[in-house]
Structures are given as structure tokens and as C-alpha cells.
Symmetry: C2
Subunit: 315 residues, 2 copies
């Protein structure tokens, strides 16, 4: 397998990206070839200095960089030689099998939606985020911002995509799906949640366990937490801010350390036909290493094929 990594994305690129590559290769015993996209003049000396085996990677020169604050669509169109634009070009053409970047999130989303295909039958791809629980496991909250307005069927599809990810990447045998809601009882909710509930309940592809209130998001009452991207985004950023507060207050606690979302590397775009992972802007080496691992696991488990199978006949 050939995994493409944007070496220029993120606040600490390319240094931390290189460190992440080195860490991944030193720990991995599976044959993965890495395609490193970025400014060769910057990337090559760092990679060579890191003693990364020359057979393990190929550097693809990408002289342009899409900056964090650029308009995604405009930047992708104008900067055809940027690491992100080239990454999606290689992915779309089968030259790489997965693409990872901690760069401009918007550009990564636009690239995911328009450069590669959505899985047939999927109405809207989604992005999820991990929710740390006290038992050491991670729940998956979908959507966290890609789809601010949703229809009930979108939530139902997020549940399928999230369940497959939770099963194959997060290792839950039969992930419990919860609908994020303002009350526990069936019938509660805004119009969207009320309409989504019966769809989830009747969906034989998932293990739906009912509504999940805000207080249960950080518990393991459900493993896949489904909501539209507006609420999901607010929840994710609120949870991220808890870590900031804990840090500022000099609280040292194993569980709250897991609210450092940076360590998880990145979140996959679910519902597109190839593995795309969007990293946090502040990604350090561990984050890059973890993102490569997730991409590797998505390929190893044939996750994309499993997702495609789940939507056969729904197109």
C-alpha cells in the first residue's frame, strides 16, 4: 500500500511530519510505502537526516502550499502545484491509496468531496471526532461540522459509516449507536432528531440503542454518537476547550490528558471512496504517526469496500 502524506500541512510542518514518518516506520512491521508531498528542498534534507530507509518513501515535489487561512475552493483551483492539490490528484488517479494532511481543513474537505468519488448511495460524506471515555475507549461523534444542516436520512447514513469505522478501526465488536438528543425517551427532540429516530431504530445494519443526552456523550453509553454537524462541532470544540482549561489550571489527570485531541492525529472523511484523513493544525510527530497508522488500518481492513457494500442498492 502507498500512503500519501502532505509534509507541508500543519503548524509544525515539515519538521514534525518528518518525525512522524520516522516514528511510524520504526514501529511498523508491515510494508507501507509513503509518498511524501511537499517542497523537496525543505523535505529531502530533513528526511535524509532522520535516517529514514530510502526504499520506504518517495518524495513528490509540490512547490506550492495552501495556507491555513486561504479560501479552500479558490486555493485548490489556483494552486495546482500545492501538496494538497497534488495529493488529491494522485489519490484520484490511483497513484496513492490514501491521503493525509494536517493542512487547510476546508481545502481537504473540498478536495475529498470533489476530487474523489463519494461512495455510491451516500448522500453526504461526514467527518467524525473521537470522544474520550473514562474506561479508556474512544467513542466516535459524527458529524462534527461538515454538514451543518442535515436530513434524517443523513444521520442514518452517518450511523452506518460511523459503525463501520468504530468496528474496524476502533475495534468495537458491535458498536452501540446513540442519537444525540435533549432527552432519553423516544419521541424527544427537535424535528430532525424525532424524524431520525425511527430510521435508526429500523436500520438493521446498526446496533441502535436510543437517545443519548449531553451528559452521556463522555460515557460509554453509546460508541457511535450521531448528530448533525452544528451540534457536533459545538460539542467537539467544547470538549477540546476542557483540555485547555485543565492545562491552564495545572490539573494532571490521566483521563483529562485524553482530551488532548491532538494526539489522535486526525479524523477520517467517511463516505468517500478512498481513505482521506484530515489532521489537526497543531499536529506533532505522534499525531502524524497515528494518522498514517489509521490510513494503514483503513486499507488493511478493506474498510472502503465494506462501506461500499453497505450502501449497495441504496444508490
Amino acid at each position: 500500500m502507498n500512503i500519501g502524506l502532505d509534509m507541508m500541512g500543519g503548524d509544525f510542518a515539515p519538521t514534525e511530519a518528518v518525525k512522524g514518518v520516522a516514528a511510524f516506520l520504526s514501529e511498523s512491521n508491515v510494508s507501507v510505502h509513503l509518498t511524501l508531498l511537499g517542497d523537496e528542498a525543505q523535505v529531502k534534507p530533513l528526511v535524509e537526516a532522520a535516517n529514514i530507509p530510502s526504499g520506504a518513501y518517495t518524495i513528490v515535489h509540490a512547490p506550492e502550499v495552501i495556507e491555513m487561512n486561504e479560501h479552500p475552493t479558490k486555493a485548490l483551483k489556483e494552486k495546482k502545484n500545492s501538496s494538497i492539490a497534488i495529493g488529491f490528484y494522485l489519490l484520484a488517479n490511483g497513484k496513492i491509496d490514501a491521503f493525509i494532511s494536517a493542512g487547510n481543513t476546508g481545502a481537504m474537505m473540498v478536495g475529498s468531496l470533489f476530487s474523489i468519488k463519494t461512495i455510491e448511495g451516500v448522500l453526504r460524506p461526514t467527518i467524525g471526532a473521537y470522544m474520550p471515555r473514562e474506561d479508556g475507549t474512544l467513542g466516535l461523534l459524527v458529524d462534527v461540522g461538515l454538514n451543518a444542516d442535515c436530513k434524517p436520512e443523513n444521520l442514518n447514513q452517518f450511523a452506518i459509516l460511523g459503525s463501520l469505522y468504530a468496528k474496524h478501526i476502533l475495534n468495537f465488536d458491535n458498536p452501540k449507536v446513540g442519537l444525540v438528543n435533549l432527552g432519553e425517551e423516544e419521541g424527544k427532540g427537535n424535528l430532525l432528531a424525532q424524524a431520525a429516530y425511527p430510521l435508526l431504530k429500523e436500520n438493521k445494519q446498526i446496533h441502535f440503542t436510543g437517545n443519548i443526552e449531553g451528559r452521556d456523550i463522555l460515557l460509554n453509553k453509546a460508541d457511535v454518537l450521531v448528530c448533525e454537524g452544528f451540534t457536533g462541532n459545538v460539542v467537539l470544540k467544547l470538549a477540546e476547550s476542557i483540555f485547555d482549561i485543565v492545562q491552564r489550571r495545572n490539573i494532571h489527570d490521566e483521563h483529562f490528558d485524553r482530551f488532548n485531541f491532538e494526539q489522535y492525529g486526525g479524523v477520517p472523511v467517511l463516505g468517500v471512496s478512498k481513505p482521506v484523513i484530515i489532521g489537526h493544525g497543531i499536529s506533532h510527530a505522534t499525531a502524524f504517526k497515528n494518522m498514517i497508522r489509521i490510513a494503514q488500518r483503513m486499507l488493511q481492513t478493506n474498510l472502503m469496500e465494506k462501506m461500499k457494500d453497505s450502501f449497495v442498492g441504496q444508490g
Copy 2:
């Protein structure tokens, strides 16, 4: 002023309600008469044992109790001699000036909406919740569940009601209003937030400062945080759960202690013509004391008149 208190509401009623009354009266130097609603056989001995001055209160016998899990509308209709039903009757008829209960939240909401009038011009009353910030102040999040689906104009009105509450009860000179959203820039958001933004921006009655992301909810970037009740409810319950986690992990921290939402007593229903305060089910003495104080302050500051003035001409 005459403040009505449901002595039978909450998990620790009437004992904790009585303690709260005693604590309030021992600290207050303002003439407040308390109307204590509940089963006289239970309430009277407790009140007498607490050495509460007999001139400071009147017990109104309410032989029935609406339990926490009863259907609100049905219970209010069938239990006309319950403390909540009698409380709203007295409030509607001017026998008491404010009504407080830590009992069945749904029954309190139904009572607020149907027993007393909505302020003329207010489309939908709302309930808020406090958000503790590190500087020791409290922000106000509105709505937190009364209105799961909202129109842009609802959010605009929540901003007015919340600002008046923040100014007169929370003592902010010129409270900053933020729109809870998934991004900071104008134009971001779901359809509701996108449509609410210009209304808030053009609203001369409030000090709108723009969008507020999830990460800013617990900061003092804005004092009044406006959103529909679905997201608000999820945020509130998530914040409440942080306190549970902190407790379970035996973390002692002054700031996180303020995530114990019980201490704040209760949240007012905003947009109705008289002060109604809905308490937390697990309210203890301090919570009851604080709820009486808030009702007192709402009456002292003529908050209801100020709210009515703000909506003149909008009816």
C-alpha cells in the same frame, strides 16, 4: 414582595427547601414574605423546628404532589391541589409575585406557558443556564431546551431577554451577546445561525459581538450565548457531566467546583410576564436559598417591566 416556593419539589423536599428558607431569611435584610406551598402536615413542623419567624411566611396547604416522572400536562390538569398547580394559580391571580419550584420541570414549563401570560411581543419564552468562566463570572446560555426548533427571530428575542437578565441579575454593564456557531466568521453556520446573525447584528437593544465557537462557551468572550434549545441542552448537560467526571476522579479545583450546577439553584423562565424559577431536581438548601434570592432580585430590579418595555411595539 411575596415569593411562592414549592416545598414539595425536588429530591430532598421538603427538608432542604425548609433549610433554604431559613438560610435566606437569616441573610436577607429586605422584607420578603414567603408563601410556602406543600403538605401542611409535613411542612409546618419542619418550619417551626427551624425557628423561622412566623411573620415571614404563610403555609398554603397543597395536599397533592406532581411526581418527577409524571406527564406534565396531564398531571397539572388532574392534580389541581398540587403545589405546582396551586403555585401557578396564585401567581396568575396576583397572590404571589414570583414562583419557584425544583419539582417536575415539564410541569413548571407547561405552567409557565399556559397559566401566566407571555410578555406581549415575545414569540417563545426561553430558559437559560449559567456557564461558569475562569474569571469567576457566569455566562448565560439561552435556550437550553425549551425550544428545540427555533426560527431566527426566536434567537434574536432570546438575545434581548438574556441581555436584560445578564444586566440586572448577573450584573454585567453591557453584556456581550454571542451567537453559538461552528465558526467565527460571519456567514458561517447552519441555516438558522446564518439567518439569525444579521438580525442580531442589526438589533440595537443588544451588544452583539459575533459568533462564538464551542471552545469559547466557557470563556468570557460573550456573556449571553444564544442558540436553539437542542444544541443548548446538549451543551448544558455535557458541561454538567464534566463536574461528575471531576468528582469521580477526585480532582479538587475551585473552577471545576463551579461546574456543580446545583449550587446556582435554578434557571428563570424568560419571556413570561412574572418571575418563574425552575430548580434542579437535586436542589439542596443553598440552591433553594439562591433561587429565592434570584426571584427577589428579579422583583427588586423590576426586570419583568424592563422586559415588557423592550418588546413594546413588537406585539
